[in-house]
């Protein structure tokens, strides 16, 4: 690979942008943020083109000594598993800026710099090749998220922000303990070295698994540590919800793939059944609770719990279809839930209500909006030909190979999923226009349609040609599953 440190560049470019914003002023903040995110997206393009899909190894690798005393290096690199997440992060960040364009009037300077710091944390986390760097970015991520929720959120933002903070910090602490334990016994934190090095003894693995998985499970979130999510999602500003759903939750799933599966294989076997059971509970229980929601954002938040249940289910099937499906599902969920939160945010800017009962009959007043919402709801419901279908199909196929009843329950979760989405659409879009909405300009403007356009494209592309992601995954997933 060339000497050009592409991963470091795209990781820290947003941070530089954040610094520039803080040094300039409130007015140009959104423009600087837009330029920075677009530039990051543009600079990341060579990654996808030059990536060698036939290799499962880390590519574009960078390595520099960092803290010699703990033999910690600054190591960056991507494989087929991390690349799609980086793509998703840089795309969603552009859209977040676009979606906040008029919605954020208060302290835009601080808002956009927080957003950019978050972008650095996201890219860095997915590009890190050792656990220490991974942990650093993991922790950095919490700060801008906490601020985004706590400062620019809805009425109960303070409560939601602290709930988010407490849950994630509890997880982080356990991860730190695990990290120290791992360093203490192996003397390295490099993912590659940990994977190929001598196996840890099973008992230690079990303890480490508990520590790491607790941290990851909070982020995913897995049942029963999911209750921070509805509050955080609901209270966060649109961009915050998109980042939360789109990327932050994926950090948990990514952590399981990067740390738990390759480094702690015996512990994974040991905890397999409880993890599968918790996944299924998340799928069915999450979907069922979603049915009862009366707040649009809370409804989408609960649906995330169900959809992320598919991710952990796929991961713990430990077979190709399941794991590839899980990664695809994470990307798909980022796209779809991101799109749904953007849709909700756009209409909220006009109506200032999140109660489903305050809506109704949008289809005549806002046909374009209704059509796009329908498309994303269908995608979320796993409609075949759209993106989520492929991931769910692979996961359930993988689950059937493990235990047929697992797959059957997951299919039931899909069934519930279509029901709550249909009901949401029915209550928001169909029927006569809600009298409370009369006189409002509800239809989307050009900026908003352009904001959603990339996601429409991705929903169709990944549904009709999933190979566009699966092609990247294949070699790395094979590595992951057979390298054990």
């Amino acid at each position: 690979m060339s000497a050009y440190p592409i991963l470091s560049v795209i990781t820290f470019l947003p941070l530089a942008g954040a610094a520039v914003i803080l040094l300039t002023g409130q007015r140009p903040a959104r423009w600087i943020a837009l330029v920075t995110t677009v530039a990051t997206l543009g600079l990341s393009m060579p990654l996808y083109q030059a990536f060698d899909k036939s290799s499962g190894a880390m590519q574009f690798a960078e390595s520099r000594p960092w803290i010699p005393a703990w033999s910690v290096v600054y190591g960056m690199g991507v494989d087929g598993i991390s690349l799609p997440f980086i793509f998703l992060s840089v795309v969603l960040c552009v859209l977040c800026v676009a979606a906040s364009w008029t919605a954020i009037q208060e302290r835009p300077r601080e808002f956009y710099s927080a957003l950019l710091v978050a972008e650095t944390a996201m890219i860095g986390l997915f590009a890190a090749t050792n656990l220490f760097l991974f942990y650093v970015f993991w922790e950095i991520m919490i700060v801008p998220m906490f601020l985004l929720i706590g400062v620019w959120g809805g009425a109960a933002r303070i409560f939601a922000a602290f709930k988010f903070l407490l849950f994630t910090l509890a997880g982080s602490l356990l991860m730190l303990v695990g990290l120290v334990g791992l360093l203490h016994t192996t003397g390295t934190l490099d993912f590659q070295a940990l994977t190929t090095g001598t196996k840890l003894n099973p008992q230690l693995q079990a303890w480490l698994f508990i520590a790491f998985t607790a941290a990851f499970a909070v982020k995913v979130p897995m049942f029963p540590v999911h209750t921070w999510l509805p509050d955080a999602h609901t209270e966060a500003p649109t961009a915050g919800s998109v980042i939360l759903a789109g990327i932050l939750l994926k950090m948990g799933g990514y952590g399981l793939l990067r740390v738990a599966l390759p480094i702690l294989p015996d512990a994974v076997q040991l905890f397999l059944k409880p993890m599968l059971a918790l996944s299924i509970i998340a799928i069915v229980y999450g979907a069922y609770v979603t049915l009862a929601q009366t707040d649009v954002k809370r409804l989408i938040a609960y649906s995330s719990i169900s959809h992320m249940g598919f991710v952990t289910l796929g991961i713990f099937t430990l077979n190709r279809a399941g794991v590839e499906g899980a990664i695809l599902q994470m990307i798909n969920h980022g796209i779809i839930t991101g799109a749904l939160f953007l849709c909700v945010g756009m209409i909220y800017e006009r109506t200032h209500t999140r109660e489903i009962a305050d809506y109704g009959g949008l289809s005549k007043a806002a046909p374009v909006y209704s059509t796009l919402l329908a498309l994303f709801c269908l995608a979320a419901a796993g409609f075949p030909g759209l993106n989520a279908f492929v991931g769910e199909f692979l996961i359930i196929g993988g689950a059937f190979r493990t235990w047929a009843w697992l797959g059957a329950l997951a299919v039931f979760g899909v069934l519930l999923g279509t029901t709550y989405l249909l009901w949401l659409y029915y209550r928001v879009v169909l029927g006569e226009l809600n009298p409370g909405l009369r006189g409002l300009r509800l239809e989307l403007n050009a900026r908003e349609v352009i904001t959603l356009a990339p996601l429409i494209f991705l929903v169709l592309l990944l549904g009709l040609y999933p190979e566009s992601v699966l092609g990247y995954l294949r070699a790395s997933v094979a590595n992951l599953l057979e390298g054990r």
Binding site: F167, T227, A321, G361, F383, P384, V390, L430, E432, Y465
Partner: protein
């Protein structure tokens, strides 16, 4: 290459044009795009068949990989054999006629472009369903037609009953899809592939299961899917409500094509069903039960579209009876003839409703045969066809089914015959109430335009002569011909049952008007039970839907999620607060108190360390 993909792609193009730009297009262009795309699709089917005849084996075209992961490889692959050829002709042919009809019927409606965009999209998915060469691609079409059905049932989305009916259709169908999806996964686990030829040839050498095994499970689950889509017991409840949609939709989707997708799918999977005789029996029983149940309800309804809707459910039951007794080609034969006469019945009913400015209640009709004679004449053709009067189309296909049923189990034949009588009765009743006697309404009936009665006339000819299409013989390369020689007595009995039904209806509604009402009131409870559709909807609500909603709201969300889990977390928080508040008292700012604590601590420390040593 015969470019099979063009067959579904043409309507898809029509959908895209009308869907994206239709709002700004004049009606003439919308019509040209919508009808033209289906016409071209129909012509392309003919072109393909012309090139491929005699088509004795499956012709496959592979375009690209869709999903590949590990050993799983699902391609974009379309295929055509004689079974799909029949379906293609019905779907594009009848579809074309209904599109033309709709240009007249919908001309005054709001959202004209939207209607035709949905209709074209439906054609795309339906044709994908028929052409798919693997279960997953078929599932794409399957879900797609369901979506279009939902959109079109709820086309009048300002009307609450329409959107509710759409939701009901969607949810009931999802229950069916649940079964279908499970079946697909089981097939994949069992055979390692979802390709039709590969699955069926792998099933070929397997022995027929005498007790319930994996194949029986697969076939039963497929039947659950079919029961949802094709409105069979216990999932038939959505179809009558689906009549909220515009009448051309009822004709195209809810009579001629989509609802027969379940029949097609089961017939397509015949290689699996033949190895699972138990599942075949279940299919036959469900079909028979549905046929009887729906026919009896059809006798009591007054909404002309509801009568025909229950008739559709009942006729679909016949088709499943055929499949269940192993007469697959007879089942498909009935799909074809039913598509002709039932599309005609609905379009004719639409013409009546159009003439009466929206009136659908048979009690407010009557004597219309002189006012809208073309509609009457064409509907009369459908009437004799469905009543099983020889030599018209329904007679031929129903006859095949009943003979096969008799060969399988005579009692099934007898129930089928009674149902045939009931069928003839309720259609005749509707015809008599609508066209004979005195006009009981207050509108000024007017005949429909040629764009509407033209398709009616074509369908009328097909309903009369469609029995001579020799579908079972044509399908011989796909399905073995049904056993059971033609038995003149059995045929005569079923024809007699049909004629009795017609005669009885004539007696009750023409000869002795008023007698029907007094019979109904004498029957009292029984009549009410049937008239209210055996209270099945109410039963479902009380036992499944309401408890499910209550459970979601009170048990899971409020109690478990917000109460128990969050309660535990908040409890931990409160505990920390409490401890913090107590400890705060220690920080009193009083130096002497601090000093006391320090001394106490030091003493404690010394004693502990000393104790350890």
């Amino acid at each position: 290459m015969h470019h099979l993909w063009l067959i579904p792609a043409l309507p898809l193009a029509g959908f895209l044009v009308n869907g994206l730009f239709g709002r700004r297009l004049p009606k003439a262009i919308i019509n040209a795009v919508a009808v033209g795309s289906v016409l071209l699709s129909f012509l392309w089917v003919l072109q393909v068949l012309n090139g491929l005849m005699p088509l004795e084996t499956l012709y496959v075209e592979r375009y690209a990989t869709w999903i590949a992961s590990g050993s799983l490889d699902i391609p974009y692959e379309l295929a055509i054999d004689r079974l799909s050829a029949v379906m293609l002709l019905v779907v594009t042919g009848v579809g074309l006629l209904i599109h033309i009809y709709a240009t007249g019927y919908m001309s005054h409606e709001d959202g004209y472009y939207r209607f035709f965009a949905y209709l074209n999209l439906f054609m795309f998915f339906m044709l994908t369903l028929v052409l798919a060469n693997n279960y997953l691609l078929l599932f794409v079409g399957w879900e797609g037609v369901g979506l279009c059905s939902y959109l079109l049932i709820g086309f009048y989305y300002l009307k609450n009953s329409a959107t509710t009916a759409g939701n009901k259709a969607f949810i009931v169908n999802r229950i069916g899809d649940f079964g279908f999806a499970l079946a697909i996964f089981l097939i994949f686990i069992q055979f390692g592939t979802l390709d039709f030829p590969a699955v069926f040839s792998a099933a070929q050498p397997l022995p027929a299961e005498s007790t319930a095994g994996i194949l029986t499970a697969i076939c039963l689950l497929l039947m659950v899917g079919a029961a949802g889509k094709s409105a069979q017991v216990p999932l038939y409840v959505w179809l009558p409500d689906a009549m909220e949609g515009p009448t051309p939709v009822s004709a195209l989707i809810h009579a001629a094509t989509m609802v027969t997708a379940g029949v097609y799918m089961v017939a397509r999977s015949s290689a699996l069903y033949l190895k699972a005789p138990l599942a075949m029996d279940v299919v036959a029983l469900i079909g028979l039960l549905t046929a009887v149940l729906a026919a009896t309800i059809g006798m009591t309804q007054f909404d002309i579209k509801k009568v025909f809707a229950y008739s559709t459910v009942s006729q679909l039951g016949y088709m499943f009876l055929a499949l269940g007794v192993g007469a697959f080609s007879a089942g498909i034969f009935h799909v074809v003839t039913h598509a002709f006469f039932k599309a005609l019945l609905f379009l004719g009913a639409g013409s009546v409703i159009h003439a009466l400015e929206g009136e659908q209640d048979l009690r407010h009709m009557g004597g219309l045969r002189k006012k809208i004679p073309i509609t009457f004449l064409t509907l009369a053709c459908a009437w004799v066809a469905i009543a099983g009067v020889p030599p018209f189309s329904g007679f031929h296909s129903k006859d095949e089914i009943l003979l096969a049923a008799h060969h399988h189990a005579p009692w099934m034949y007898w129930i089928g015959v009674v149902t045939a009588g009931i069928t003839a009765f309720y259609v005749s009743r509707a015809m008599f109430l609508c066209f004979f006697g005195k006009y009981r309404g207050h509108h000024h009936p007017h005949e429909s335009p040629v764009s509407m009665w033209g398709p009616l006339a074509v369908l009328a000819l097909l309903s009369l002569g469609g029995g001579y299409t020799h579908i079972p013989q044509f399908l011989a390369p796909v399905f073995p011909l049904a056993e059971g020689a033609h038995d003149f007595t059995l045929v005569a009995i079923s024809v007699a049952a049909g004629l009795t039904g017609i005669g009885l209806a004539w007696f009750l509604y023409i000869a002795k008007p008023g007698l029907a009402d007094s019979i109904a009131s004498n029957l009292g409870g029984l009549y009410k039970l049937v008239y209210n559709k055996y209270f099945v909807d109410e039963l479902y609500f009380a036992t499944i839907i309401n408890p499910a909603i209550a459970g979601s709201r009170t048990v899971l969300w409020k109690f478990l999620d917000a109460g128990l889990i969050d309660g535990t977390v908040n409890g931990a928080g409160h505990m920390a607060q409490w401890v913090g508040a107590k400890c705060r008292r220690l920080q009193s700012g009083n130096i002497r108190t601090y000093a006391t604590w320090v001394v106490l601590g030091a003493v404690l420390l010394i004693f502990t360390i000393g104790g350890v040593r």
